[in-house]
């Protein structure tokens, strides 16, 4: 398995040999920033295209196919368009909060994005409380949505914002508890540690029933956290026209659009990290030659492959289920997911203490 830290160390040494340490650091920081930005943009464009194609095939259509081969440049065209659209100046809004909201949304998703381990040795931020940090920053995004809705001085956006608040206070809990379940199992909060711990089998296999339950809860709660159907209440096209971002135009709206897809990636990335071993290849204890073959597949492919498969499932949700109503949404969380989660956590604790796992 290729370790990307070799590359980063090589660059580091090369830079340090030609310039003082602080200069090397500076250049490295810039490189990290640019790489992150590029990856972020490319992923967003890919995801927009991916979702459109996937939903088109669910709906017996073809989806974009005119712009470039198979329409792969469709989202690029959209990006150009959205970048040059007018930014409407509105009269009655709270200007500061209105402009702050897209920053919050993008920064939150960018920070969470930075925590993800894209491959062996390819991780920007690696705290020893990484997973905790990830949950913390990803919840900032909802704040952006709340502010966007509130500051727009529009009744639809206000309702959208309030809905997103209700959704946040509920599903944050499920995410927290299902992640907690896995932290109990892994015994560490460091992202590297969690991935390394899955060397001998992904948690979803080794943690058997509680891990599977936690995985399902995480999928549901993750879908809700990203405001995607069937939990797209803050946006609710057929109820609130465009929900919390009704008043946002041009690139302002583009940020929300971008962040929505990136959050989709982040949620699926975290799911693959916690349950499917992150960039770890599929290892089955005892099958040495099989494990060896799996090791030849680059770690980056593993990570993105898993993330995309989970994204596909989340997209599948969206295009299959009708939207929930706000009281049903809360009932689902507080009366079903929360008790289930607590029980699941307890079972997991017992399993860990008595070593009942594989």
């Amino acid at each position: 398995m290729f370790d990307f830290s070799i590359v980063t160390h090589w660059i580091d040494n090369l830079l340090r040999s030609v310039m003082p340490g602080w200069g090397a650091l500076l250049i490295e920081f810039v490189l990290v920033g640019v790489a992150l930005l590029l990856l972020y943009a490319v992923l967003a464009l890919f995801y927009i295209y991916f979702e459109r194609k996937v939903c088109a095939f669910f709906q017996c259509r073809l989806g974009p196919n005119r712009v470039g081969p198979y329409g792969i440049f469709q989202s690029v065209a959209d990006m150009f368009k959205i970048l040059i659209k007018e930014l409407i100046s509105l009269n009655h809004i709270d200007k500061f909060l209105f402009n702050l909201a897209p920053y919050l949304v993008i920064v939150a998703s960018m920070l969470a994005f930075g925590c993800l381990p894209f491959g062996k040795g390819l991780q920007v931020i690696d705290f020893n409380i990484g997973i905790f940090f990830l949950i913390a920053v990803s919840s900032i995004g909802v704040l952006g949505i709340l502010l966007a809705g509130w500051s727009s001085h529009n009744k639809y956006t206000l309702i959208g914002a309030i809905r997103s608040g209700a959704q946040m206070v509920s599903y944050e809990l499920s995410i927290g508890l299902s992640v907690l379940t896995m932290v109990v199992f892994a015994g560490t909060m460091s992202i590297t540690g969690i991935v390394e711990a899955q060397n001998n089998g992904w948690f979803i296999f080794t943690g058997h029933i509680p891990a599977i339950v936690a995985f399902l809860i995480y999928l549901v709660a993750g879908t809700a956290e990203t405001n995607r159907g069937p939990f797209d209440l803050p946006e609710a096209e057929s109820e609130l026209t465009a929900g919390y971002h009704t008043e946002y135009s041009g690139i302002h709206f583009g940020f929300f659009y971008l962040a929505e897809y990136l959050n989709l990636f982040i949620v699926s990335g975290v799911a693959s990290l916690l349950f499917l071993g992150g960039w770890m290849p599929l290892h089955i204890p005892g099958w040495e030659s099989f494990n060896h073959v799996m090791d030849y597949i680059p770690s980056v492919v593993w990570f993105f492959g898993k993330a995309i498969v989970i994204s596909f499932i989340i997209i599948w949700f969206k295009w299959t289920f009708p939207r929930l109503r706000i009281d049903q949404l809360l009932r689902l969380e507080w009366k079903y997911l929360l008790p289930l989660n607590l029980i699941n956590l307890f079972v997991m604790v017992l399993i860990v203490i008595y070593g009942l796992h594989f």
Partner: protein, 116 residues
Amino acid sequence: MNSALFVVVLITGLALVGAALLIAGLISPRSFNPQKGEPYECGIPSRGESWMQFKVGYYLFAILYLMFDVETVFLFPWAVILKDLGVAGLFNILFFMVVLILGLVYAWKKGALEWK
């Protein structure tokens, strides 16, 4: 190193938004008319203020959420060292959790989990 990288990522995010806004601000067209800045409400002028007293039906959920979220924060450190603590650790935290779960059951019985 990590905290420095955290700042780098933060700045990257800010730079993305800032740069895109700058480009958009420079080249995007602009036009004005009296109706453009008004709130959009299906093509009809809005009636009165939008920032008015508005009934938020879920404040009880918010309070419950606070409780449980704080609980989760306490649980995380415990979760990491659970393997070392063993059964004793479980019972210590179980007492803490039971109190909270009783709280949830109480709220449920009181009907606080119904949307009103």
